[in-house]
């Protein structure tokens, strides 16, 4: 005992207190004095003595009352109390004191030796009691602290002890379980459970266990026998555990294992477990089916048996890598041999299976990707085929955006068509909507696409990269959801040019045919005309001849009359003059007629155009109201013509011009050089400022017998044309009403003799 035992000595007589204290102090105790009841209670509270020697006769409250109060106070109840009295020494009083909870009673007088002995005895007893009390509490606490339910029974199933856990298991307060039969509590039954291990324990005197279900919980009970000194069964200890959770975990594990087993066995993937030496420990159904082997044939054999020879090295190396600690998940492809000897391509995942940090197995999950590989290869080949087709196509293939014609996809041919060396560059920068040569073409094309869904052989002109222009012909389809147009295009520039050329040639041919037809018609008409004119010529010849004779007679007659009647009256002379003039006019008409009808021979000589014009103007001088404008350059080559005939022509033209300007005007005679396809010509143009020629008359001007004049039979221009043509030239006319007329004679030139 670490502390000194403390004793409170209470007596109303200070001498007794003092003597007692001396005795006790001497015996080794620590003492405190008190002389009244209240003092005692107060000192007990303050000093917490182990023992109080309490006198009954106290001045304030008596010792019994003090004892009662001490025992009633929980903090003080544990203090030992010995009532010491000289007055109340009878048995009655002693009983009363003990009833009040006093621990002992000492009657005075008492010897010092007896007192000390009594005190010592009481203190020893109390210490023993204390120890026992503590031990029991400790045992109970331990008993209750055990998680398993513990029930002690006697040999007749009576519960003689149970802990808190047992109470909790069965939903009872442990105290209420005491004395009841165990099966009443454990199995809620009126008689022992049929499988109760206790009977076996009783018979065989050794441990038995049982698992049973109670109220949805799984309980495991272990029963041990308690044997008496003679080895007879005296009772039993039940240790009961709630194993519901363990049971559930086991069940879950079992279900989980079943699930995984099912998974492993039903998956089409091959699953293999092998040990670190590569010996197969597990192969699932898919694996067996793949190899065509049985589990017995495979288990324990090296993994190599599956692998195509050329891959075995790789597998070995991977195993070595793993052995060096490069663990983790591997993903690779190998070829394996199927049961039919066919090589199958497998996609493999392998992972280490570790137990307590040590890799013990390798898990392999492999999938037959032969079909996928083959499909991929087919797709790759197909893609390559199409890519080759696409890029090597000799037509342009395109995909453009509907909105603006941006090139989204193109083959090489299309890029080349648009003048790009690089297809990528073409796709990056070309926007068709900005490159249509003809505005509105794209809009028209898109309208057609939207209406019909496609366009066929649409033709449009585009700018190439270098801004040159080409014709494209394309057939396209619209994909509104995707927002693009796809199609095929070809460069038809040459085709178009050829077509244009053909068209041009056709047109030219037609024109030539028309021209030739016209020429033939003209020739025919000419023939007809000439035939007609030949007839006319003969007729005119004879008529002219016949007319000339009477005219000659009239002419003679007039001449004669004028000779014989020199003194005739004014009127007679006037009439003779009229006769003379009209005879001349008639003679002129006959002359023209005969000129026209007669085929004259052309007597050519070299002569300047200016000389011819001069001669004509000498013969037919301009009237006073007509101004002459001459432009006859001296350097022109000489003409090679019959001068008389061309004079006659020019005379006709000039006289006609005078007559076209009765009110006066200007006559221009202009000569210049003129070359057609290296042939040299000289033109002489005679222009007047007269009334001009109505369009409807232009075509008939040169026809014989066409005239707008009151006089004349309309042979002048016809004769002129004939003469010019006889000289190898031609005559043309230009006129607009009110703007005058211009007759141009185009004549051959004399070949230079010097050369």
């Amino acid at each position: 005992m670490s502390e000194q035992t403390k004793i409170l000595v209470v007596d109303d007589d200070p001498a007794i207190v003092s003597a007692t204290r001396r005795l006790l102090d001497k015996a080794g105790y620590q003492t405190f004095p008190a002389q009244t009841g209240l003092e005692t209670l107060e000192a007990a509270r303050r000093h917490r003595p182990d023992l109080i020697l309490l006198d009954v006769n106290l001045p304030d409250i008596d010792g019994f009352e003090v004892c009662r109060r001490l025992k009633a106070d929980p903090e003080l109840a544990g203090i030992g109390v010995i009532i010491v009295s000289s007055t109340y020494t009878d048995g009655e009083s002693q009983a009363a004191g003990l009833d009040l909870g006093a621990d002992g009673y000492i009657a005075r007088p008492v010897s010092n030796r007896e007192l000390l002995a009594r005190v010592q005895g009481l203190l020893r007893l109390r210490a023993a009691e204390q120890t026992a009390r503590l031990s029991a509490a400790e045992w109970q606490a331990t008993f209750d602290a055990v998680g398993s339910g513990i029930i002690l029974t006697d040999d007749a199933y009576h519960i003689i002890q149970c802990n808190r856990a047992a109470g909790e298991l069965f939903g009872e307060i442990p105290e209420n379980m005491l004395g009841k039969r165990c099966y009443e509590i454990v199995h809620s039954a009126a008689e022992p459970y049929y499988a109760c291990p206790l009977m076996t324990v009783k018979k065989e005197k050794k441990r038995q266990s049982m698992i049973f279900e109670r109220g949805g919980r799984w309980l495991e009970v272990t029963v041990d026998p308690i044997l008496d000194a003679e080895g007879r069964f005296a009772g039993s200890v039940h240790v009961i555990n709630d194993i519901t959770e363990r049971k559930q975990a086991e069940e879950a594990l079992r279900e989980s294992e079943e699930k995984y087993r099912l998974l492993a066995e039903t998956t089409p993937d091959v699953i293999i477990l092998h040990d670190m030496e590569g010996r197969i420990q597990y192969v699932n159904r898919a694996g067996l089916e793949l190899t065509g082997l049985t589990a017995e044939e495979v288990i324990g054999r090296p993994i190599d048996v599956f692998i195509a020879p050329e891959f075995q090295n790789g597998i070995r190396k991977r195993g070595e890598q793993r052995a060096r600690g490069n663990g983790g998940l591997y993903h690779y492809e190998v070829e394996v041999l199927s049961k039919s000897g066919q090589k199958l391509c497998m996609e493999v995942y392998s992972a280490p299976v570790a137990r307590q940090g040590q890799t013990e197995q390798i898990l392999i999950v492999a999938r037959d990707i032969t079909a996928r590989k083959q499909a991929e290869e087919r797709i790759r080949q197909s893609e390559e085929t199409y890519r080759n087709l696409f890029h090597n196509a000799q037509v342009g293939l395109f995909r453009t955006r509907i909105a603006d014609g941006k090139i989204l996809e193109s083959n090489e041919q299309l890029a080349r068509m648009f003048g790009y060396d690089s297809r990528e560059e073409f796709i990056a920068e070309y926007v068709t909507s900005q490159n249509y040569v003809d505005p509105g073409t794209r809009e028209r094309m898109v309208d057609m696409l939207r209406r019909d869904g496609f366009v066929q052989n649409f033709e449009a002109r585009f700018y190439r990269k270098d801004r040159s222009i080409f014709w494209a012909r394309y057939t396209a389809r619209i994909y509104p959801e995707q927002g693009w147009i796809e199609g095929v295009a070809e460069d038809v520039t040459q085709q178009k040019q050829a077509e244009d050329e053909i068209r041009r040639l056709n047109a030219e041919l037609e024109q030539r045919v028309a021209e030739r037809t016209r020429q033939l018609q003209e020739a025919q008409e000419q023939l007809v005309r000439q035939e007609r004119l030949a007839v006319l010529g003969q007729l005119a010849g004879s008529v002219g001849h016949e007319l000339r004779n009477p005219l000659a007679v009239i002419n003679n007659a007039v001449y004669f009359l004028k000779l014989v009647l020199p003194d005739a009256g004014e009127k007679v002379r006037e009439y003779l003059n009229i006769l003379e003039r009209e005879t001349h006019n008639a003679e002129k008409i006959v002359g023209d007629l005969l000129d026209f009808a007669r085929v004259k021979s052309v007597e050519r000589e070299a002569i300047a155009a200016s000389e011819l014009v001069r001669r004509v103007l000498d013969r037919y001088p301009a009237p006073e109201n007509i101004r002459l404008h001459l432009d006859l350059p001296p350097g022109l080559p000489p003409l090679w013509v019959d001068p008389r005939q061309i004079e006659q022509v020019l005379g006709n033209l000039i006289v006609n011009a005078y007559q076209a300007m009765p009110e006066g005007g200007r006559l221009s005679v202009i000569s210049d050089q003129y070359s057609v396809s290296s042939e040299q010509w000289v033109r002489i143009a005679v222009k007047d400022t007269g009334v001009g020629i109505p369009p409807e008359n232009m075509g008939k001007l040169f026809e014989p017998l066409f005239t707008t004049k009151a006089k004349g039979i309309g042979l002048g221009l016809a004769v002129s044309k004939k003469l010019v043509e006889a000289n190898g030239g031609r005559i043309e006319v230009q006129s607009e009403p009110g703007q005058g007329a211009a007759f141009t004679v185009i004549l051959p030139v004399a070949e230079e003799k010097s050369s």
């Binding site: 000659a552 007679v553 003679n556």
Partner: protein, 128 residues
């Protein structure tokens, strides 16, 4: 006294022959007239003619043949041809045979008189 120039006019058109003859007679020439070549040749056989003025185109015998035959009878005969045509082979032949002038009808009478005068001056005086 000088002999007047005698001119034979041959034309199948009597009016033509008559009027021409009248004009020349009026101008003081001695004029004979024939309506055909045959008649003219008869006359030429009988009488001296200085100038023959003959139409070319005539029935039976044309003026050029007449001129050629007449010249055999009277080699000094001066011949003027008259024609209603400007040019044809007959005229060309006449020109080659020595016709002194070719006159187109209707006659330019002033020109005719001028020619006669020129012929008189150039040839006739020597021949007479």
């Amino acid at each position: 006294m000088s002999q007047p120039t005698r001119i034979l006019i041959v034309d199948d058109n009597p009016a033509m022959a008559q009027t021409t003859a009248d004009i020349l007679a009026l101008k003081g020439y001695e004029v004979r007239v024939s309506g055909s070549s045959r008649e003219a040749l008869d006359l030429l056989g009988r009488e001296k003619i200085h100038i023959l003025l003959t139409d070319v185109i005539m029935p039976e015998m044309n003026g050029v043949d007449l001129f050629v035959r007449a010249r055999k009878q009277q080699p000094s005969l001066i011949t003027f041809l008259m024609t209603a045509y400007s040019a044809d082979e007959l005229i060309q032949r006449g020109r080659k045979e020595g016709a002194k002038a070719i006159l187109t009808k209707p006659l330019d009478l002033n020109l005719l008189l001028m020619l006669i005068k020129a012929v008189e001056e150039s040839y006739l005086w020597k021949l007479r």
